[in-house]
């Protein structure tokens, strides 16, 4: 048995270097790696000629900062990892759906996104018994939000089980990345999850740069860091406001919504788009920051900082709000580890999981942001981790703007992609770990592109958080995760 290939974040290797194991060895390898502290960052298949499908796993070890890669060819069926490794469950369902393979022994086999039409024709887990009732919510909701279907198995007001069914926004992004025109790719990526434009664009740009051997100027790295943290600020502030709104606490809800706009406008100051569209491009950033706008950015950031402090601290000072947040929707550290949760949801369970620390990239290799964790794993913890991160990101942005490296903001010429290479690119988006795996064929064209949005890991966390909770607390728990539907559906 060969040892797996290990890479660092954003490093490339020849596609042929990834060990190709027998299916049973592959399974053993993944299980051992997960037992040894690694986490499944991505598990996906791609056609390998004939009926064969090549499964590949990216196993992340945060302590070492390494990504182990391993692969195996399978045909028709394979022995499911899920019974021994719950975090593989959604990946295996995805593989089964995409290639018609059967993961034998998978405890809950059903499609993830229904790409072959016939949405919502699957069975749902049902609790039977007297006084047990089922509540179905969605996919059309009362607010202007994304479509998703939620099935609650309830006993009175208590939720026994929640099953989440998504896929209504599947648009075939991964396939379009390979088969579509190259010029369209960045736009697909930027709208993959509309609130994470910078995060996904950064992961894509870094993968393309690594595959083409392009060198990104230091100034561009700093500007990308600023944009990524601004995106985090805007979304975290919006989330805290939405949490306040869900418990009917008006002051933070109204002011937070406005301050989110202030942060979005700072991104607009960088590049003209509030969501950072058009800023990040392979090779650097498209818009440089001149000193006048840099000064304005710092000034407006300071004003927004004061406002956000006032609005958010009201939450922690109001007993009626804290009574709603505390001990609602708790997730234990064990469940978090088993499901492989990422981002603020994982950090709220006391798990120190942050790509900026574990797999530093770009500007984060030189300037670190302290990691923010909390122990309780409840709605309060998820809210508080966001607040802590807001407080860490602001000084980082200020520091970067004041000490922007000199030089160009974009590398001179675009290089062609090198042939037969593979790259794993991780970025800590505001929701958590964004993982892009890109591979080129012998002609230097993109042959495979796998995207794992943090939501893909975390939706099951929401379902687990609801167990034993009041059904009336679901919107609050949901908002505390604030996961992306379109990022999951791809």
């Amino acid at each position: 048995m060969t040892s797996p290939l290990t890479l660092h974040n954003g490093e490339t290797c020849a596609a042929g270097e990834v060990p190709l194991l027998a299916a049973a060895e592959f399974r053993e390898e993944v299980l051992q790696a997960v037992e040894g502290g690694r986490r499944i960052a991505a598990l996906f298949g791609r056609p390998a000629g004939g009926d064969r499908v090549r499964l590949a796993a990216v196993l992340a070890n945060g302590a070492e900062g390494t990504l182990a890669l391993t692969s195996a060819d399978v045909e028709k069926s394979f022995h499911s990892l899920t019974p021994d490794c719950p975090q593989a469950h959604l990946f295996e369902r995805e593989i089964a759906e995409q290639f018609g393979l059967v993961p034998e022994g998978h405890p809950w086999m059903k499609p993830v996104r229904f790409p072959r039409g016939g949405a919502a024709v699957t069975d749902f887990f049902r609790v039977r018994g007297e006084e047990v009732h089922e509540v179905a919510v969605g996919p059309v909701h009362a607010g202007v939000i994304e479509p998703g279907h939620f099935r609650f198995q309830c006993h009175g007001e208590e939720v026994f089980h929640l099953e989440i069914s998504l896929g209504y926004q599947h648009r075939g992004v991964e396939r379009a990345m390979i088969e579509g025109r190259e010029a369209r790719r960045i736009h697909l990526i930027e709208t993959l999850a509309g609130d994470t434009s910078i995060g996904h664009a950064m992961a894509y740009a870094r993968a393309m740069e690594a595959l083409s051997g392009a060198r990104v100027p230091a100034r561009a790295q700093a500007l990308r860091g600023i944009a990524l943290e601004l995106e985090r600020l805007a979304n975290h502030t919006g989330d805290l406001a939405a949490l306040a709104n869900d418990v009917g606490y008006l002051p933070t809800a109204s002011y937070g919504g406005r301050i989110r706009g202030d942060f979005l406008n700072l991104t607009a100051l960088l590049c003209g788009s509030r969501f950072g569209r058009g800023l990040v491009r392979p090779g650097g950033v498209r818009f440089d920051l001149d000193p006048t706008r840099a000064a304005e950015l710092v000034e407006r950031l300071d004003a927004a900082t004061r406002d956000v402090g006032e609005a958010v601290n009201l939450l922690w000072e109001t007993p009626s709000v804290m009574a709603r947040f505390e001990e609602t929707g708790s997730i234990s550290r064990e469940v978090c580890e088993q499901l492989g949760l990422v981002g603020p949801a994982a950090r709220a369970c006391g798990v120190g999981r942050d790509v900026r620390h574990e797999f530093p990239y770009g500007i984060y290799r030189f300037f670190q942001i302290p990691m923010s964790t909390w122990e309780t794993g409840d709605v309060f913890a998820r809210a508080h981790v966001r607040w802590l991160e807001i407080q860490r990101s602001i000084p980082f942005i200020r520091e970067q703007v004041k000490a922007l490296p000199e030089g160009p903001a974009r590398a001179d010429a675009a290089h062609p992609l090198e042939a037969g290479r593979l790259c794993v690119s991780l970025v800590e988006g505001w929701r958590g770990e964004i993982c892009h795996v890109a591979m080129t064929d012998a002609a230097g064209r993109l042959a495979a592109y796998k995207i794992v949005d943090p939501s893909f890991h975390n939706w099951t966390g929401l379902a687990m958080a609801l167990r034993g909770q009041q059904i009336s607390d679901f919107p609050l728990c949901n908002k505390s995760f604030n996961l992306s539907y379109c990022g999951h559906d791809l």
Partner: protein, 303 residues
């Protein structure tokens, strides 16, 4: 029976939506917004009346009866409650029991209409509504009973008249406790924060609103108007106890009571602005607390 006794129901019918306007305006101000005009609720009602109604095939006459009977009960109730020293057109011994009965009737038909839709949301809302009103009703009854005992009268008009004749210093703590209990019932029955959130779009957290999700157009207007009347009537009970006005003191009495109503609406808006909603599990504790206050008021009234 003097013609002025027709005034309390007329005032209630005309001004009850205004109360909602005042609450919403107060909340908007706290949120840093200018807010909708005070008369917006009237426009909303007119808009709904002009629309068509949609009926699900699974519903029966129970669904259609809900809004009509509900509003009818509220209209009847408005003829029972005195306002600002003006007697009500229907004043008789024991009218306070009829008032509570009419509130219960309105709830009964609304719950029936909700259950008639067969939707799991509405069933959930109906179950919550019934659970909480089972706790709110005793608080209302005991509060009114304590006032009846305190004043020795068993009609709303006579109770308020007697309260105003005996200043608060003499009647002691009992009216105050009963008024606080009624204020809690007022918030709970009218689906206000901290019990319910009238502005939320989240079906899973709603109590009252989720029961009327399937009503549309004119039916929904009747429900909204009925809710506004309920807000007015329960509010005028609270104001009547806190600012008692003797008979024959109109128009000053009516002005005082009107000011009291506006103040109550502002206060409701302030409460909604400065605190979050209670967890649904905690709502019964609040309502039982109101019941305990009413009981204490009744005990004190006997001393």
């Amino acid at each position: 029976m003097s013609p002025t006794c027709l005034l309390p129901p007329v005032i209630a019918l005309v001004f009850s939506p205004l109360l909602l306007g005042v609450i919403n305006r107060t909340k908007a101000r706290f949120a840093g917004r200018a807010g909708a005009p005070l008369h917006q609720p009237y426009h909303d009602l007119l808009k709904l009346l002009r629309k068509g109604a949609v009926y699900s095939r699974t519903t029966t006459w129970l669904f259609r009866a809900g809004p009509v009977v509900g509003l009818g009960a509220m209209l009847a109730a408005s003829a029972l409650v005195p306002f600002g020293g003006l007697g009500a057109p229907l004043a008789f011994e024991g009218d306070l029991l009829v008032l509570a009965g009419l509130l219960a009737l309105a709830r009964f038909v609304t719950v029936n209409a909700a259950l008639d839709t067969g939707s799991s949301f509405e069933g959930m809302g109906a179950s919550r509504e019934v659970q909480f009103s089972a706790l709110a009703e005793p608080a209302l009854f005991l509060g009114l009973a304590s006032m009846a005992r305190e004043t020795g009268a068993v009609s709303l008009g006579a109770i308020f008249a007697s309260l105003s004749a005996h200043p608060w210093a003499e009647s002691g703590l009992a009216p105050l406790l009963a008024a606080v209990a009624l204020a809690i019932v007022f918030l709970a029955e009218n689906a206000r924060i901290p019990v319910d959130d009238p502005n939320t779009h989240l079906e899973l957290t709603m109590i009252h609103e989720v029961m009327v999700l399937d009503h549309s157009g004119p039916d929904f207007a009747l429900i909204q108007y009925g809710a506004a009347l309920k807000l007015w009537l329960l509010g005028s009970l609270v104001v009547g106890m806190l600012l008692p006005v003797g008979p024959g003191s109109a128009p000053a009495g009516v002005a005082l009571a009107g000011g009291g109503m506006i103040a109550l609406a502002v206060l409701t808006g302030v409460v909604e602005s400065v605190m979050a909603r209670l967890r649904l599990l905690r709502v019964p504790q609040l309502l039982v607390g109101a019941g305990a206050l009413s009981s204490l008021a009744l005990v004190l009234a006997f001393v």
